[in-house]
């Protein structure tokens, strides 16, 4: 059996909650221990799918940019096309996060452009953006 980081973190959380917190006398320290246990639990739940959630979202934005770049002004369209052709710079969470931030900032420009557009294409892109934003939020939801 592989002892995973997720399992280790769950063990730390249970220790904080069930062994450390009840042994303390100071109410502030007890509450702090319980909150720490909850934070560690959230980290444990998110660690296994952390890379998958980020790669999924980055891929969704690249696909969107590929389809949306023809309907926006040329300068933005060029940057969207470049981003659509990009790949993950690495697979560390920090690298995926930096790439996610870069793509999301471009997305804000795209959404600002299409949300005021009246064409069917612009409205379809805007609906697609909201759909991905909602699903991305669900995929990253902290779980206790």
């Amino acid at each position: 059996m592989n002892l995973s980081l997720e399992t280790i973190l769950h063990g730390v959380a249970v220790t904080l909650r069930d062994k450390i917190a009840p042994s303390l006398n100071d109410s502030f320290a007890i509450e702090t221990s319980r909150l720490a246990a909850m934070l560690v639990t959230i980290a444990a739940h998110s660690i296994d799918d952390a890379a998958a959630a980020r790669i999924w979202e980055n891929d969704q934005w690249r696909q969107l940019f590929a389809s949306a770049h023809p309907i926006v002004p040329a300068d933005l369209g060029k940057r969207l096309a470049d981003a659509a052709a990009s790949v993950e710079p690495g697979f560390k969470i920090s690298e995926l996060d930096r790439e996610n931030d870069r793509l999301r900032r471009l997305l804000v420009e795209l959404q600002t452009c299409v949300e005021s557009g009246t064409s069917d294409e612009a409205q379809a892109v805007n609906r697609r953006i909201w759909h991905i934003l909602r699903e991305g939020e669900e995929r990253r939801a902290p779980r206790i």
Binding site: D26, S27, F28, E31, T32, L35, A36, M38, L39, I42, D97, N100, D101, R104, R105, L107, V108, Q111, T112, E115, N126, R127, I129, W130, H131, L133, R134, E137, R140, A141, P142, I144
Partner: protein
């Protein structure tokens, strides 16, 4: 006395030259007021000219600037508001001393009375107000209405943010929180950006009057007593002047839902009865989305402070992670109500 108790005693002796044998004990840090360190303590002293056995004893609260917190809290604002609101029908503690000199306790702090009662935890699954939920909810709304009715200039609060303005508070408050969000945003959050754009392009009507805004008026920021009375309204560090609907919208945010204890219509009727104003429901809708943006800005601050350290309070980390997600989801739902998000 431990070291911190001794330092507080030295400060009290400095501020009360008529007092002798000042002692501080039972110092304990308490949860609450995540933007500041909060301690309760007991102070005792003799008054000069009085018999030595005439010991005066006070239960006090000390609020000190944190090494890191949820917002850029301004303790002098909270201290000033406590002083200004005394006698206006709003239950607030008597504030005694405000100190900025770091020689006493390293960081700015102020000292006020410990008020009777306890907070109700808004996330408690059982009745947080021990059988008095409806009574407390009604009083919650009536106090907020009284606050909205106060003439802030007459109360000496013209120096608060927007204190000399009238009318379009929505714009200045949206700028204020959008700026805080921009300063603290980590990974870009397009959901919040979209909400800010919608708020700018769909403004509410001008405020009916400038009102004192608590800034964090919600379940969890007041104390109640066993007879079902609200004994103190606390945590005024984000107090400012704005449209009275700003506090109303914040109070009904589903993260701390007072509406679970009293239907919204009944709560708003209580507010209208003491404020003397009618609630514009459409404008309230604008302020509800604004509240979600404001909350997102506060959670972004929490994330940033926890990331940068040096102090990493667990409650701040939890707010950054869990509450941030909650309010982005809320924005998604509110934008869907506006036809913006499927």
């Amino acid at each position: 006395m431990n070291q911190m108790e001794s330092r507080i005693a030295a400060y009290l002796a400095h501020r009360m030259p008529h007092a002798g044998s000042v002692e501080v004990d039972e110092l304990a840090r308490i949860q609450g007021g995540s933007s500041q360190e909060t301690y309760r303590l007991r102070a005792s002293w003799h008054e000069q000219g009085q018999p030595q056995d005439a010991v005066i004893e006070r239960r006090l609260i000390l609020r000190r600037a944190p090494e890191a917190g949820l917002v850029v809290a301004e303790r002098d604002i909270e201290y000033s508001v406590y002083q200004a609101l005394a006698g206006h029908g709003i239950p607030v503690p008597a504030a005694h001393y405000y100190e900025e000199n770091p020689r006493w306790l390293d960081r700015p702090f102020f000292i006020m009375d410990l008020m009777p009662g306890k907070p109700g935890h808004f996330y408690a699954s059982s009745d947080p107000y021990e059988g008095h939920s409806e009574q407390i909810a009604r009083e919650f709304w009536r106090h907020l209405g009284r606050l909205a009715a106060i003439d802030h200039l007459g109360a000496g609060l013209g120096n608060l943010r927007n204190g000399q303005d009238i009318g379009a508070f929505w714009a200045s408050e949206l700028d204020w929180w959008a700026d805080i969000f921009a300063q603290n945003e980590g990974i870009c959050e397009p959901v919040v950006h979209a909400a800010i754009r919608w708020l700018r392009t769909n403004p509410p009507p001008a405020a009916p009057k400038p009102s004192i805004i608590h800034g964090d008026y919600r379940a969890g920021n007041f104390l109640f007593t066993p007879d079902g009375q609200i004994s103190a309204i606390l945590d005024w560090e984000m107090c400012h002047i704005s449209d009275p609907l700003e506090d109303v919208a914040w109070a009904i945010d589903p993260f701390w839902p007072m509406t679970r204890h009293l239907p919204l219509d009944e709560g708003l009727a209580e507010w209208e009865s003491t404020s003397g104003m009618k609630v514009d429901r459409e404008a309230l809708g604008w302020w509800r989305l604004f509240s979600a943006v404001k909350a997102s800005a506060i959670w972004a601050t929490a994330q940033n402070n926890f990331t940068q350290g040096p102090a990493r309070e667990m409650v701040v980390g939890m707010s950054g992670i869990r509450a941030g997600h909650f309010h982005r989801n809320l924005i998604l739902n509110l934008m869907a109500e506006r036809g913006q998000c499927a």
